[in-house]
Symmetry: C2
Subunit: 347 residues, 2 copies
């Protein structure tokens, strides 16, 4: 899934070049490239589908030259994750009625690849054998209010756990009780399931979506697929898969996974995730001089050099035509500052 905008990472992330297409870690690879490389550890390249917004087709091709054009699913409208997953599911099922597949967000990071592969292979085995909606669940390291939580039925165990309930983003007090209980995991949006299980879940809990997309299934995997999708997709209900399926189904399972995951949702989470220097700074770029500067995240584009003194607890991002200088503690405001901007050229 590579259709998001990543507006909390503005001004690095733009409508025209969202977060998944950025080298947000400063490692020489975009997040989607790293996600693709991880997917290749699980399945052959030709089995990897990229679902993205129509306008990012050429970005996907640029970042993932290995992907064939007919493996790129282009959404003609932003209808959240449920229609996107339904479309992919129908396309996969048309290719293989017994298909089993995973859904991977393209803009997250996972440090422990071997552990990821091991858990995913466990997950594929389970998903092949059972009609189930399976997720990887991440052990929460803090009472984060920015994630949905997965409550396990009974007490947590290695391998597959039955899920009691999906929980929406909690308030801080509730999040604390979740973390303390040990029976809650973060929902990272990584799903593993058979096409049949997904179709059945849609038919039961979000039938409008699957019906709308099923008007003429014979069009899928033909030259007419795109014009067909362009016509029907915008009519699907805009809803997240969590809300459409996961919270309503009773065959939900999770595999706890400690895989060094971060969704890198915001500049702060990047600051938390990356290694800091001895004064707590995360520095991306070329610094001529840096003095008396602590706990900052500073990101400069290539070719820019900085002299910085006396900056504390700030986010400083210079990106193309925009300079962002913002207190770290107020970073949740960045999305709304961005949304107030009327100059669409810089969004």
């Amino acid at each position: 899934m590579a259709g998001g905008v990543g507006s909390r990472f503005w001004p690095a992330s733009r409508e025209s070049r969202p977060k998944q297409f950025l080298d947000i870690l400063g490692v020489g690879q975009s997040l989607i490239q790293m996600t693709f490389d991880r997917a290749k550890l699980l399945v052959p390249v030709e089995n990897i589908l990229i679902a993205t917004n129509g306008k990012y087709k050429s970005l996907v091709q640029e970042h993932l030259p290995e992907v064939l054009e007919n493996r790129i699913l282009l959404e003609p409208s932003r209808n959240n994750t449920a229609p996107c997953i339904a479309y992919a599911t129908l396309k996969i099922q048309a290719l293989n009625n017994d298909g089993v597949f995973a859904v991977l967000p393209s803009d997250h990071v996972i440090l422990k690849e071997q552990e990821f592969v091991s858990k995913m292979n466990q997950a594929f085995d389970f998903a092949e054998s059972k009609e189930a909606l399976l997720t990887l669940g991440l052990a929460p390291s803090r009472p984060d209010t920015g994630y949905g939580y997965i409550e396990i039925e009974g007490s947590k165990q290695e391998g597959v756990n039955k899920v009691k309930q999906f929980k929406e983003k909690p308030d801080l007090e509730t999040a604390k009780t979740y973390v303390e209980s040990g029976n809650y995991l973060w929902n990272a949006g990584i799903f593993i399931w058979s096409a049949k299980s997904v179709i059945n879940a849609f038919n039961k809990n979000a039938p409008q979506i699957i019906e709308t997309l099923s008007a003429d299934l014979a069009k899928l995997n033909t030259p007419e697929e795109q014009s067909y999708i362009d016509k029907v997709y915008p009519n699907t209900e805009s809803i997240s898969v969590d809300y459409a399926l996961m919270e309503k189904s009773d065959n939900v399972f999770t595999i706890p996974a400690e895989i060094g995951w971060s969704d890198l949702g915001t500049w702060n989470s990047l600051h938390v995730y990356l290694e800091k220097d001895e004064t707590g700074n995360v520095l991306q770029g070329d610094f001529l001089s840096l003095e008396n500067t602590n706990n900052c995240l500073i990101r400069l584009p290539e070719g820019k050099k900085a002299v910085v003194k006396g900056l504390k607890d700030m986010i400083l991002v210079l990106e193309d035509d925009v300079l962002l200088l913002y207190p770290k503690e107020d970073e949740q405001e960045i999305k709304s500052v961005r949304n107030k901007i009327t100059d669409t050229a810089i969004l």
Copy 2:
């Protein structure tokens, strides 16, 4: 005089495009253009000579298209102000043995043009009538330790005053006594004198310079001038005119002038000089959002837009490939930060 580097205005001011060629006030004109326009209020365009470093010839021509090529004096080396003035003086004297002229730094600002013109005309009258080294003296508004001071003989009066002594940059305590006494003026480097007076002063106090440049005076104002100057100029003693002449001569005079002058020596002086918003900020550029930001000087190049929150008492300058973010109170360090940079491309 337009040969300086303006290193305290880095990173806006660069070796390749020093301060005098910048629109440092954000008014649509460079400092040299404004200085040139002021000079035109005093003399015909063809009587204006521009003395600059050889490498700035094309910049001068770009900023001052009215100036004829043979009115641009190109210094082949940086030998401070005394050789520069000696060269100009010899060239003027060769054109007119009775010539009277003014020396104007090209990188200062003067707000009160009418007062400037009035004082300069007084000064020209005096300089024509007397063998004297005359300056404009600025009433000090604060005990600044960054300027030289002019001590008046007797008590200060309107019009021409005899100068007792030129004083080098004082320490703060001394500067305070100067300001309190009322008999000290700032030396702004604006001189008015006859060519004869200057030659005589050089012959008396800095003969090496005038002798070196006088090896073959017939070359001046001919096509061979530049190759001649290129040969002899680098051999002159590198010394300021204040030190070479003004501190040693006994025929020094000054006219006190309240002309809204600033040498704009540093970012702070620009902040002091320019009008501030209600929270003490001087803002040059396009701001998408500015919150909780006080007493800052922020300068963005055209085409860049900024979101800034939570910045206090800072200088923030983005210029081409360099970002400077520095506490206002530490701005005197900027010159040495710049001087430590080994990447000559950004100096």
